[in-house]
């Protein structure tokens, strides 16, 4: 199914941290007044997850929700559920001022695995990677482009960026994770 195409066709680089294109996920950008209970209800209905706190990431049985800005969320759902989730959101938010869009195809997503994930990311982002708590999402600068970074556990990190610069970000991460580059201070 061509739906599952990803910008980098599953590229992978093995260094002291393994960098690979993440499995396909549906992504929905939702903008609205997050204090409006209707938004929380609609989000819970399609993902099972509660609204995250600022910079937070929550998970439910049908997806994850990342806080992007005071009026923006990013929903992750199974790739074949994107259209349904979008339809679900839109119908539940009928009459509520909001913007819900499928943004799956405009993003590239990477997974970093290994004990050095924090320090590999610390080579490309000004975020304090030593103290970033798991499931805290930081939108930041990755070398020369914008992106989002979070850890799901101590040895797994996730990076999302625009698909047009997916190759650039992958190459930057793979270079940073190349053997011999271990810093060893975190």
């Amino acid at each position: 199914m061509s739906d599952l195409a990803t910008p980098l066709n599953g590229r992978r680089a093995v260094g002291y941290v393994t960098v690979s294109e993440d499995a396909p996920r549906g992504m929905i950008s939702l903008r609205g007044d997050l204090s409006d209970g209707g938004i929380a209800e609609a989000v819970r209905a399609v993902t099972g997850a509660n609204l995250p706190e600022p910079l937070g990431l929550t998970a439910g049985e049908a997806g994850q929700v990342a806080w992007m800005s005071p009026d923006e969320l990013l929903l992750f759902v199974a790739p074949n559920q994107t259209t349904d989730a979008l339809t679900g959101l839109r119908s539940r938010l009928e009459g509520v001022h909001h913007l819900a869009l499928d943004v799956t195809d405009m993003r590239a997503a990477f997974r970093l695995e290994g004990r050095g994930v924090r320090e590999v990311l610390a080579k490309v982002t000004p975020v304090d990677m030593q103290t970033l708590a798991p499931d805290t999402v930081r939108r930041t600068r990755l070398a020369q482009v914008a992106g989002a970074v979070w850890l799901s556990d101590e040895e797994t990190a996730h990076v999302v960026c625009f698909s047009s610069v997916g190759t650039y970000v992958f190459d930057v991460l793979a270079t940073s994770a190349a053997p011999g580059g271990e810093v060893g201070v975190f």
Binding site: P54, M68, P70, T140, R141
Partner: protein
């Protein structure tokens, strides 16, 4: 390399995550306005050696604009506050008064 607190997302931003937007609290003059007012809106900017109110956008982050009050010489940051106001908060002004008495007169001079 400045570090400013984004009041929108709570992140202490590295300057490289921000884009600068120049002087804050300008009043927009549109059609029908006097030439002098329009000129001042479009071109005339303060460049103080001292306390300055400015606009920043957390462009490599939450994407939101905010305001910052900063001394352009010492680089002391008095605070940051939301973009959706037309003047600095009173509490912030009082704090600046306490540290730099007389700065308002300097600003008018």
């Amino acid at each position: 390399m400045l570090r400013l607190h984004c009041p929108n997302c709570g992140v202490d931003c590295d300057e490289t995550e921000l884009s600068a937007g120049g002087e804050a609290h300008l009043t927009r003059f549109g059609p029908g306005s006097e030439d002098d007012d329009f000129e001042s809106y479009l071109f005339m900017r303060k460049n103080p050696k001292g306390v300055h109110f400015e606009r920043w956008r957390h462009v490599m982050g939450c994407g939101k604009w905010f305001h910052a009050a900063r001394n352009t010489v010492s680089l002391r940051v008095y605070g940051t506050y939301p973009a959706q106001v037309t003047a600095p908060p009173e509490a912030l002004l009082a704090e600046i008064d306490a540290v730099e008495p007389g700065w308002r007169n300097k600003e008018e001079a």
